[in-house]
């Protein structure tokens, strides 16, 4: 099956535990105002944004991934938003699992629960974005409701399929502490789930004012402490 691929990083240190081959698929169904990679949003069409996109066969992609196998502890499929190409993603994950390769999927969780659960059968763990726990705020930020995200989040927690959740911290735009507190309580039932708090950085961002500030170390540390106080065992700041 063919899919649209933005890039492959053979050795990635930031897409899950250890060394992982990271595959970035093209296309996204969110339009976050702080997006650093807006060129990954359109799935098809033409223009500059699609200049680097490769059409790849899932088996051919797996053959490339297998080259790196001795050096990695798995694969992380990311995006864009990789679930936008669900049939391709399913085929890719199924093929990887048939080769006994550990598979993580990095997703915004915005897909029908049935589809998410079907995908989960071929995935070892998800890395899931919790951009905002509050529906209106989520809508203003991404253009979509967070209803599906939260349903899928609950499923992933209950089924031990969640490696980490991530929130981008933008002090001038979001009520970050509300999201951190609520999300932390949700994941606290499983101490192995990490919370990664990502500092907003204005570089490469198109929509937000460049004057919007990156959060201070102190503020990030406060949020991390908040996560801990809500039961999170591992909180990482980047």
């Amino acid at each position: 099956m063919k899919g649209y691929c933005r890039s492959i990083i053979p050795f990635s240190s930031v897409d899950g535990p250890g060394n992982r081959t990271a595959v970035f698929l093209q296309g996204c169904n969110f339009h976050c105002s702080y997006c650093h990679n807006p060129e990954t949003q359109p799935l098809a069409g033409s223009g500059e944004a699609l200049a680097g996109v490769m059409e790849r066969d899932h088996q051919e992609l797996v053959a490339e991934i297998l080259k790196y196998r001795d050096f990695t502890r798995g694969v992380t499929v990311s995006g864009g938003e990789c679930t936008v190409q669900l049939p391709f993603l399913l085929a890719l994950c199924e093929e990887l699992k048939s080769r006994e390769i550990n598979v993580f999927v990095d997703t915004n969780g915005h897909l029908a629960p049935d589809d998410f659960q079907r995908l989960a059968r071929h995935v070892d763990a998800f890395m899931l974005d919790v951009k905002s726990m509050e529906e209106d705020e989520h809508f203003r930020l991404t253009g979509q409701s967070n209803r599906l995200v939260l349903q899928n989040l609950s499923y992933a927690i209950a089924n031990k399929k969640l490696y980490e959740i991530r929130t981008v911290v933008v002090p001038d735009l979001l009520r970050n502490s509300d999201t951190v507190a609520l999300a932390s309580r949700l994941i606290s039932v499983d101490p192995s789930i990490r919370y990664k708090l990502i500092k907003f950085r204005p570089r490469g961002v198109q929509e937000l004012l460049p004057t919007m500030l990156t959060p201070s170390e102190e503020y990030m540390a406060e949020l991390c402490a908040l996560a801990s106080s809500c039961g999170v065992k591992v909180c990482v700041m980047v």
């Binding site: 050795f11 240190s13 001795d70 990695t72």
Partner: protein
């Protein structure tokens, strides 16, 4: 100015460095080694280089005492009884180190420290503090980066304490290697990677590969030299393949005429150095290390070094401008490189020297890491700095060379500081590298003060101090500074930076 007087007047050399330089100067006033005109010419042109080993060898270049035996029996010469507790053990070792000679005048091998010390340590702060002081003592008195201690392969309390102390001390000395195999616990391995990302050590030796080549135990000494324990290497002389290739652009001439001749002359020069050392210098007849069995004649070998393969191959390919056609990228260059090293290995293995008892009369191949003054010759079989391919390709390109070099070859990788958050990333890469035939792997973080120059460690802050005209304790700092200036060793590609 007279050489001796210039050493005496030098304001930057420390007292100890002056004494060593004066001894070298005196040794080099002699001309006792017999060599042919061809050897003289090849030395003059830099094709053969004895790496400052001196004109009258009076001690083996690399001495690898059997410290385990020393722990069992103490020393009559040093009037030391076997240790009964940690304090005894640490002091005995520190005393012995001051009596172990080598090319640098400091010991190039300090023992498999964790297995030596583990019988005496407790898992407590008292043991830890004693070990930390011991390591500090080593750094402050054995002021030379080629002092090398080993750890592993199994996890021990002492091993964990040594790693912790290195993270806290962040010293350049001792150099450190973890012998790594499946018996090394993941906790110990991750602890070692964490330590390497803070202070550029330990490096990792492929224990399975080394044990196979040495038929059992071995030591990693000096930079990354695999050597038999209880002996060592009489000499190390290197053949500069880059210099040799500069004499022709024709591969057939290189392979059929120049290379066999240069190898033959290098071997004859090495034979003469070994002969003088074994037969004329009194070392083996008189030194207490030999008399007490810590060194034995039948555990000595010697090392045939090669350097500058990358530039050699590029020259023979007509110095292609396009990077894809050069060593480090092109398949043709790789095949040519392997063919050259295979031929060197064949020629060296065909030569016999009965003094090299530990290796059946054969010299062991060593991928020499270069010297501070080298220009346009990369270490051993390494890809030149500035031309590195992606990390996976880099490792796979280098791996086929490693099996040829039991007495040392390795690659050094600089990682972005963010990798400290994920030390398993480096461990996974190292495991993959070993699965694919890499012999020795070094990693450090780009923001570390202690950096791996080629095979040895130096502090950036010491190099900066030396550049400002200050005296620095560690005699290897001047070598690191030269290598930084001439070979760009601080400009290595930084991996995982895109993240």
């Amino acid at each position: 100015m007279n050489k001796t007087l210039s050493i005496v007047r030098d304001p930057i050399l420390t007292y100890q460095q002056k004494v060593i330089a004066l001894a070298r100067s005196a040794e080099n006033s002699l001309e006792v080694l017999k060599m042919s005109d061809e050897v003289q010419e090849l030395r003059q042109s830099g094709v053969i280089c004895d790496l400052g080993e001196g004109n009258a060898p009076y001690r083996p270049r690399y001495i690898v005492p059997d410290y385990a035996l020393f722990m069992q029996q103490g020393s009559e010469y040093l009037e030391l009884l076997p240790p009964e507790n940690l304090e005894d053990a640490l002091h005995n070792l520190l005393i012995l180190y001051k009596h172990v000679p080598s090319i640098t005048t400091f010991p190039v091998y300090l023992g498999n420290l964790d297995t030596l010390l583990n019988p005496f340590v407790q898992d407590d702060e008292e043991s830890y503090r004693a070990i930390k002081r011991f390591l500090l003592h080593i750094d402050r008195t054995l002021t030379d980066s080629f002092c090398h201690a080993n750890l592993g392969p199994k996890e021990t309390i002492a091993g964990r304490q040594i790693l912790r102390a290195q993270r806290e001390l962040q010293t350049a000395v001792p150099n450190l290697t973890l012998k790594y195999d499946d018996s090394t616990s993941q906790e110990m391995a991750l602890d070692a990677v964490k330590t390497a990302l803070l202070t550029a050590k330990p490096s990792f030796a492929n224990n399975v590969m080394f044990r196979h080549d040495f038929h059992g135990d071995y030591a990693i000494a000096s930079c990354y030299n695999g050597l038999p324990i209880g002996g060592g290497s009489y000499t190390l002389v290197r053949l500069n393949l880059s210099r040799l290739a500069s004499q022709t652009a024709d591969y057939e001439v290189f392979r059929n005429t120049l290379l066999p001749s240069a190898v033959r002359h290098t071997l004859s020069y090495m034979d003469e150095r070994v002969r003088f050392l074994v037969e004329e210098s009194s070392f083996l007849a008189s030194n207490f290390l030999v008399k007490e069995g810590l060194l034995e004649r039948d555990k000595f070998t010697a090392m045939f070094g090669v350097v500058g393969l990358a530039e050699c191959v590029n020259t023979l390919l007509g110095n292609p401008l396009h990077q894809g056609d050069r060593f480090g990228h092109s398949e043709q260059a790789s095949e040519l490189g392997v063919a050259i090293i295979t031929e060197v290995a064949r020629l060296v293995a065909a030569h016999n020297n009965t003094h090299l008892q530990a290796s059946g009369g054969r010299y062991l191949l060593h991928a020499q890491v270069g010297i501070d003054t080298d220009i346009a010759s990369s270490p051993g079989c390494r890809i030149p700095i500035g031309e590195e391919p992606e990390l996976f390709e880099h490792i796979m390109y280098g791996a086929p060379f490693h099996k040829f070099f039991p007495s040392g070859i390795g690659d050094v990788f600089s990682f972005d500081a963010t990798v400290k958050n994920n030390p398993a990333f480096v461990l996974d890469i190292l495991q993959g590298a070993f699965k694919n035939g890499l012999r020795y792997f070094s990693a450090y973080s780009a923001d570390s003060d202690v950096v791996r120059i080629t095979g040895y460690l130096v502090k950036r802050s010491d190099m900066e101090a030396l550049a400002r005209g200050k005296q620095v304790r560690n005699g290897a700092v001047v070598l690191g500074k030269g290598a930084a200036e001439n070979q760009g060793v601080l400009e290595r590609k930084i991996w995982a930076r895109e993240n």
